[in-house]
């Protein structure tokens, strides 16, 4: 699903440089990413999502060589193949929970909102236990409820890859477990791959594999 080779990356005006000789994630795998702050975990997710471009080397995701895609294709790739979950939930405050789950179809390139999509969103909301909160705005939801809605939004496009950046970082321990279980359950239903950055070492046993950026940074 993800194949990284000889990757080097540096922000244009920053001293930070990321260097990944090789990294691969199989389809359906659930991979945790840990490491000290500032080691480039979020940067890796951005690279894999095509939000930033590698300087050298290759990033291949779901069969697409991202550096070979043009800007519009990368956006379309992101809209249709990748689901994002954020630490701060990043819901849109002026839309109801239900409309938030449909948000990718409002802005994403190459996505069309059809009645089937609405049905799917409704089914996802039921599976995620937020069906009764769909008419509420994010401001009226608890953190756990907001993240459940965010998971619905990430999954509604049926992505092949789910990128989670500290998705449980703002939640209490019990909710963390529930949210991660939920994410894994829905992802494996769809056969989606999960790449999740976390600071939570208690959750690591649940992943198939863990990449530790503390080691990655060491010169090969």
């Amino acid at each position: 699903m993800i194949a990284v080779r000889d990757l080097t990356f540096a922000y244009p005006h920053g001293g930070f440089a990321l260097n990944i000789p090789t990294l691969s994630v199989d389809k359906g795998e659930r991979v945790g990413v840990i490491g000290p702050s500032g080691t480039g975990k979020t940067t890796l997710l951005n690279l894999v999502a095509g939000l930033v471009q590698a300087n050298t080397g290759q990033v291949t995701v779901a069969g697409h060589d991202l550096s070979a895609l043009d800007e519009a294709s990368r956006r379309r790739f992101r809209a249709t193949r990748v689901g994002f979950i954020f630490q701060n939930f990043a819901l849109v405050d002026y839309l109801t929970a239900f409309e938030n789950t449909l948000y990718p179809y409002r802005v994403g390139l190459g996505l069309r909102l059809t009645p089937e999509v609405r049905d799917r969103a409704q089914a996802l909301a039921e599976a995620c236990g937020v069906a009764h909160r769909l008419k509420s705005h994010p401001g009226a939801l608890s953190g756990g409820e907001q993240q459940r809605v965010a998971i619905c939004r990430a999954l509604v496009t049926q992505p092949q890859l789910i990128l989670a950046d500290e998705a449980t970082g703002n939640l209490d321990p019990e909710t963390k477990e529930a949210i991660l279980d939920l994410l894994f359950a829905r992802a494996s239903e769809m056969g989606a791959t999960v790449l999740a950055v976390t600071h939570d070492h208690d959750l690591l046993p649940r992943f198939d594999r863990v990449i530790d950026f503390a080691n990655l940074r060491q010169p090969a």
Partner: protein
């Protein structure tokens, strides 16, 4: 379509801000048009009525005040003249004089004491009830009747002319006998009565001994200390009488309707002497000068409106810009979810287009409402 959906959702979520923007936008769009409509309407109404009023006789002084008071029943006042001036016109045999006494008000409407000739001269007809016949009776202009919700059988009380009136002259209760048909002129905003009734209000005519006075609740009482107004009844009407010489009774002005053009010219000539305390004015000339001045001021007003409009647009732009910086995180999310490069532009354009459409709709409604009620609004403005 999706951009429109999001824009609409955002406008609804921030509805108070949206409402303010829409109202401000509508005002910017409609104020110049509304002023144009009202200006043109006022010009027309002013000019038409002035041209329909051949001559006005009144105290020497401001010709404009004289015309405004006598033709449009405005607040402007000149000194009163006497009834002798009216008699002079009669005696000349050159024109029909119509007396006007416009010193009093009731419920914000001017009480116009005049003769029955006035109704013929202006072409006023009774829409409901009957014409005044007795002392103390009045007919209402259409707008006054509408505004006060009064009709034949009701009463209005004249406003006390001044709070410290120690002459023992009480406001008079007027019996409404009829309502005039609407004409879209200042006549709709006036209450008409016989000039003698005006003199009763002025305390020149009054009843004796058995004059019935009543307090605000209508309780009839004989104790002058607590009486609020006087009422003319079938029992006391015969006791009403006037003191002094009839030729000394006051009038605000006299409308003069010459029998032909030549008579008008001759009559005007008799009032040219600047020593004469009475002057004869031609309303059409005075109003032409006024309209000319109004339009010169209006051009200045247009410039002011333009400047204020630009300033308001700047404020709107700033408010939109600030709103957009509040949405930076949404834009960032949209980018991560694979939004197109121009998603911000699309959302901004959709939102501005929606605001503009709603503003334009509201502005159009305003302009249409003003245009539809233009006559009444103009009549009301002219009566101010």
């Amino acid at each position: 379509m999706n951009a429109l959906f999001l824009a609409l959702a955002h406008l609804r979520w921030t509805w108070a801000r949206s409402l303010v923007l829409i109202i401000v936008g509508a005002l910017i769009l409609s104020v110049p048009m509304v002023t144009q409509v009202l200006l043109r309407g006022s010009e027309q109404a002013l000019t038409q009525r002035a041209e329909a009023t051949p001559l006005v006789l009144g105290a020497r002084g401001s010709q404009l005040d004289l015309v405004m008071g006598a033709v449009y029943f405005s607040e402007d006042r000149t000194l009163p003249i006497t009834r002798a001036a009216e008699d002079d016109v009669w005696d000349s045999g050159l024109a029909l004089p119509i007396p006007l006494h416009t010193a009093f008000q009731t419920n914000g409407a001017r009480i116009v004491g005049t003769s029955l000739d006035y109704f013929d001269f202006r072409g006023l007809t009774i829409a409901e009830g009957r014409q005044v016949a007795l002392l103390g009776e009045a007919v209402l202009g259409a707008q006054v009747a509408d505004r006060l919700g009064l009709g034949p059988g009701d009463t209005v009380v004249s406003a006390p002319e001044n709070l410290f009136d120690l002459d023992g002259v009480y406001p008079l209760e007027l019996q409404i006998t009829g309502v005039l048909a609407a004409t879209g002129t200042p006549d709709d905003e006036a209450v008409f009565t016989d000039v003698k009734t005006s003199w009763v209000i002025a305390g020149i005519g009054h009843g004796h001994e058995d004059v019935v006075t009543a307090d605000a609740e209508g309780n009839i009482t004989a104790n002058a200390a607590i009486t609020q107004f006087q009422r003319i009844t079938p029992d006391n009407i015969d006791s009403f009488h006037f003191h002094g010489s009839a030729s000394d009774y006051p009038l605000s002005a006299v409308l003069v309707v010459p029998y032909d053009t030549r008579s008008g010219t001759i009559l005007r000539g008799r009032y040219l002497d600047p020593e004469n305390p009475v002057q004869m004015t031609v309303p059409a000339e005075i109003v032409a000068g006024l309209v000319d001045r109004i339009f010169r001021i209006a051009t200045l007003l247009d410039t002011v409106t333009l400047v204020i409009g630009i300033a308001a647009l700047g404020a709107i732009a700033l408010s939109l810009f600030l709103a957009w910086s509040l949405r930076a995180s949404e834009i960032e999310t949209a980018k991560r979810l694979g939004a197109g490069r121009f998603v911000i532009v699309q959302l901004a354009v959709a939102e501005i287009a929606l605001l503009l459409t709603l503003s334009a709709g509201l502005a159009a409604a305003l302009v249409i409402a003003v245009t539809r009620n233009g006559d009444q609004l103009v009549a009301w403005i002219l009566a101010l």
